[in-house]
C-alpha cells in the first residue's frame, strides 16, 4: 500500500515537535532551522500550518536536476537527493514551485523530505495527530496536487 504524509493544519498547535524530530533524524541536531518540515505561523488567522514536500507527481526537482542526483525511492516513492551526486547548483530550489527543496550552505548540497525511508520522524513526534503517515488515497494532498496542475507547464503528467 502506498503511504504518504497526511497533514491536517486544523489539529496543529504549533508545538514544533515535528521540526525538532526532523532535524534530529536528518541532521543529528535539535535545530528547527535545519528541519525539512516547517510549521508556518499564520498570525493573522491564529493558526499553524505544517508544511513539507508532497512527493508530487510532477517531480519538478528531479526533472530540473542537471546531474541525475534526485531519484524516486522504489518503496516509498519519495524523491530522494543523492548527496554523492548533488553538486549544489540549486536549480531544483528555484524549480520546485512549492519551495520544499532547500540549499544547505554547510553541506553545499540541497535537502528535502525523503519520508525517512518509510518511517517519518515528524509523524511519530506529532502529539496531536496533525501529521500522520497513512494510505496515500486518504491524504489531503489531493488539494495541493490539484493546485499543482495549475502551475504545471508539463500537464501531460496528469493526462
Amino acid at each position: 500500500m502506498q503511504k504518504s504524509l497526511l497533514i491536517q493544519p486544523v489539529k496543529c498547535t504549533g508545538c514544533r515537535q515535528c521540526e525538532m524530530a526532523c532535524s534530529f533524524e536528518k541532521e543529528r541536531s535539535f535545530n528547527p532551522s535545519r528541519s525539512r518540515i516547517r510549521v508556518f505561523d499564520i498570525h493573522s488567522e491564529a493558526r499553524f500550518v505544517p508544511y513539507t514536500c508532497t512527493q508530487c507527481a510532477q517531480a519538478w526537482c528531479l526533472q530540473a536536476c542537471p546531474v541525475d542526483a534526485i531519484k524516486i525511492d522504489a518503496a516509498t516513492k519519495a524523491k530522494v537527493v543523492n548527496d554523492n551526486l548533488c553538486v549544489g547548483c540549486k536549480v531544483c530550489t528555484i524549480a520546485c514551485p512549492f519551495g520544499t527543496i532547500n540549499y544547505v550552505a554547510d553541506s553545499g548540497k540541497v535537502a528535502k523530505c525523503d519520508l525517512c525511508g518509510g518511517d517519518p520522524a515528524c509523524a511519530k513526534a506529532c502529539p496531536t495527530g496533525a501529521i500522520t503517515y497513512v494510505d496515500a488515497e486518504q491524504t489531503g494532498y489531493d488539494k495541493m496536487r490539484a493546485w499543482a496542475v495549475k502551475t504545471d507547464t508539463q500537464s501531460h503528467t496528469h493526462a
Binding site: 541525475d68 540549486k90 528555484i94 514551485p97 508539463q154 500537464s155
Partner: protein
C-alpha cells in the same frame, strides 16, 4: 488522450532522430522511450564525451567533481539499457526536409521519421581584435574547461570578459581557483539581464570584498600578445580596456552571451528568429521537425511571445513536451518562465519572471550591510505576483516560482502583509494554499 495518426506504416518502427545531447535532447530521448517502448531512437551529439551538463562545469573547475560528475545521467550503460543509440562526436551539417534526412560531418546521412533539433547554443565571440590568440577561451564545453584549468593556476592573472549569468558562474570557479581575477562588464552592473541595480550593486560589492576586481561600464577594446616580457613571465597577453588602461593576463575567459545554433538548418527553409521558432507543441515550421532547449524560440509564460530561454529548466521541459508530441500525443506547453539562481562566492541570488515589474506595486526589503534584498513585483495594483528577486535568501525560494506561475490571487490581507514585509512570502504562500 487524443492520438494523432502516424504517418508511417503501421508495422514499421518509427525512427526518432534527436540532434543534440544536452538536457533537452536527453530528456526527450528518455521520454520517448517511456512512451514508445518499441520506437527506434538515435541521439546525435557533436562532442566526444558522454552527454554532460554544462551547468556542472564550474564544479569541475573547482575540483568538487570529476568529469564523470558532469554527466547528465549516471547509471551504467544508461543509454544502451534504454535502447537509445548514441552517436557522439558527430556534427550535423544540414537538413533536407523533403527527403527527411539530416547530413552529418563526413558526408554521412541519417533518415528520420521524427526529428528533434536540440542543437543548443554557443558562446558569442564579439568582434574584438585578439580574441583568437592562445590563452583566450570561452567557458562552455568540457574541452574549454580543460584548457582553462590548465592555464588558470593559483596567482595567475585572469581577465573575465562579461559578468552576465554565465560569466558570473564562471567568476566563482575562477576566484576559487585562487587566480588574480579582474571582471570586465560592459553593462552598468553585474548580471544586468537577471537582476536590478540594487542586487547587481550588492553582488559587485560582495565580489570586491572577496578580492575580485569588478569593472562595470567598461569594455575590452582589444587583446594583444605581450611584446615586452611582463613582470610575470606567464602573462603572455595584454588586455586593453575602453578607458585606455592595460591589464596583463595569462588567461582571458570570454563570456559575452550565447546564441542559438541555427546555422546547420539555415538552408532548410525552417522558420527562424533568434532561434528556431516553435509553436506551443514544440513544432517547427517543417513537418515532423521539432525543436527544444537553447536553440528553440518558444512560448514565454509571462508574455505569450516567442523567446529563447537558454536555461536548464526550460530545456528539460521542452524535451518532455517535444517527446509527447513526437509520439503522437497532443500536448501543449504553457510556456517557460525565465528564472535563474547564482551562487557567487557564497552570496546566493535568484530572479523569476518579470522581475523588473510592469510599473505596478512593488514590495522591497533592502539590507545593504547584511547583503540581503528581496523584491516582489505585483501585476499593477492587483494581488498577483509576476516577478521576484532575492539576494542572500535561499529558503523556500521555489515558492516564488509557485506564486508567479500559478497566478495565485493572494487576497488583500496577504498582499498587505507582503508589502509590509516581503520576507513573509513563504508564510503567505502557505496561507493561500491551505485556505
Amino acid at each position: 488522450m487524443r492520438r494523432a495518426p502516424l504517418s508511417v506504416e503501421r508495422n514499421e518502427l518509427v525512427h526518432h532522430v534527436i540532434v543534440g545531447a544536452g538536457p533537452a535532447g536527453v530528456t526527450a530521448a528518455e521520454t520517448i522511450r517511456e512512451l514508445e517502448p518499441e520506437a527506434a531512437i538515435t541521439l546525435v551529439g557533436d562532442e566526444p564525451e558522454a552527454p554532460y551538463s554544462r551547468m556542472a562545469i564550474p564544479y569541475l573547475l573547482i575540483g568538487k567533481i570529476g568529469e564523470e560528475g558532469t554527466w547528465l545521467r549516471k547509471g551504467p550503460n544508461h543509454y544502451e539499457r534504454l535502447g537509445i543509440t548514441l552517436m557522439p562526436g558527430r556534427r550535423m551539417t544540414g537538413l533536407d526536409p523533403v527527403a527527411r534526412r539530416i547530413g552529418l560531418e563526413g558526408g554521412e546521412t541519417l533518415a528520420y521519421d521524427r526529428l528533434l533539433l536540440a542543437l543548443g547554443a554557443r558562446p558569442l565571440r564579439p568582434a574584438i581584435e585578439g580574441l583568437d590568440l592562445p590563452g583566450v577561451h570561452t567557458c562552455w564545453t568540457l574541452a574549454d574547461a580543460r584548457q582553462i584549468a590548465a592555464g588558470a593556476v593559483p596567482g595567475s592573472h585572469v581577465v573575465l570578459m562579461g559578468a552576465g549569468f554565465v560569466g558570473t558562474i564562471v567568476l566563482e570557479a575562477l576566484a576559487l581557483r585562487q587566480v588574480s581575477l579582474t571582471v570586465v562588464e560592459m553593462g552598468d552592473r553585474m548580471v544586468p539581464r537577471m537582476m536590478d541595480e540594487v542586487a547587481g550593486g550588492m553582488l559587485k560589492r560582495w565580489c570586491e570584498a572577496k578580492g575580485v576586481k569588478v569593472l562595470t561600464g567598461t569594455s575590452i577594446r582589444r587583446i594583444a600578445k605581450a611584446l615586452v616580457p611582463a613582470a610575470e613571465a606567464r602573462d603572455s597577453l595584454v588586455v586593453e580596456l575602453s578607458d585606455g588602461s592595460i591589464l596583463p593576463a595569462h588567461v582571458v575567459v570570454v563570456s559575452a552571451g550565447v546564441r542559438s545554433n541555427t546555422e546547420s538548418v539555415a538552408a532548410s527553409g525552417i522558420g527562424l528568429g533568434n532561434g528556431i521558432l516553435v509553436d506551443d507543441h514544440m513544432r517547427t515550421s517543417l513537418p515532423d521537425v521539432y525543436a527544444a532547449g537553447d536553440v528553440a524560440q518558444g512560448r514565454d509564460f509571462m508574455s505569450g511571445e516567442a523567446h529563447v530561454h537558454a536555461i536548464q529548466i526550460t530545456a528539460a521541459a521542452h524535451g518532455r513536451i517535444a517527446a509527447y508530441n513526437m509520439t503522437g500525443r497532443d500536448q501543449a506547453y504553457h510556456g517557460s518562465l525565465n528564472m535563474n539562481v547564482l551562487d557567487t562566492l557564497g552570496l546566493i541570488t535568484c530572479s523569476f519572471g518579470s522581475w523588473q515589474g510592469n510599473g505596478g506595486d512593488c514590495a522591497r526589503l533592502v539590507d545593504q550591510t547584511g547583503f540581503r534584498y528581496l523584491r516582489l513585483e505585483f501585476d499593477g495594483t492587483g494581488d498577483v505576483v509576476i516577478g521576484a528577486q532575492a539576494v542572500g535568501t535561499t529558503d523556500h525560494v521555489g515558492a516564488l516560482r509557485g506564486l508567479i506561475q500559478s497566478k495565485r490571487r493572494l487576497g488583500t490581507a496577504v498582499k498587505e502583509q507582503l508589502m509590509a514585509d516581503p520576507t513573509r512570502f513563504m508564510a503567505g504562500f502557505v496561507q493561500t494554499l491551505h485556505r
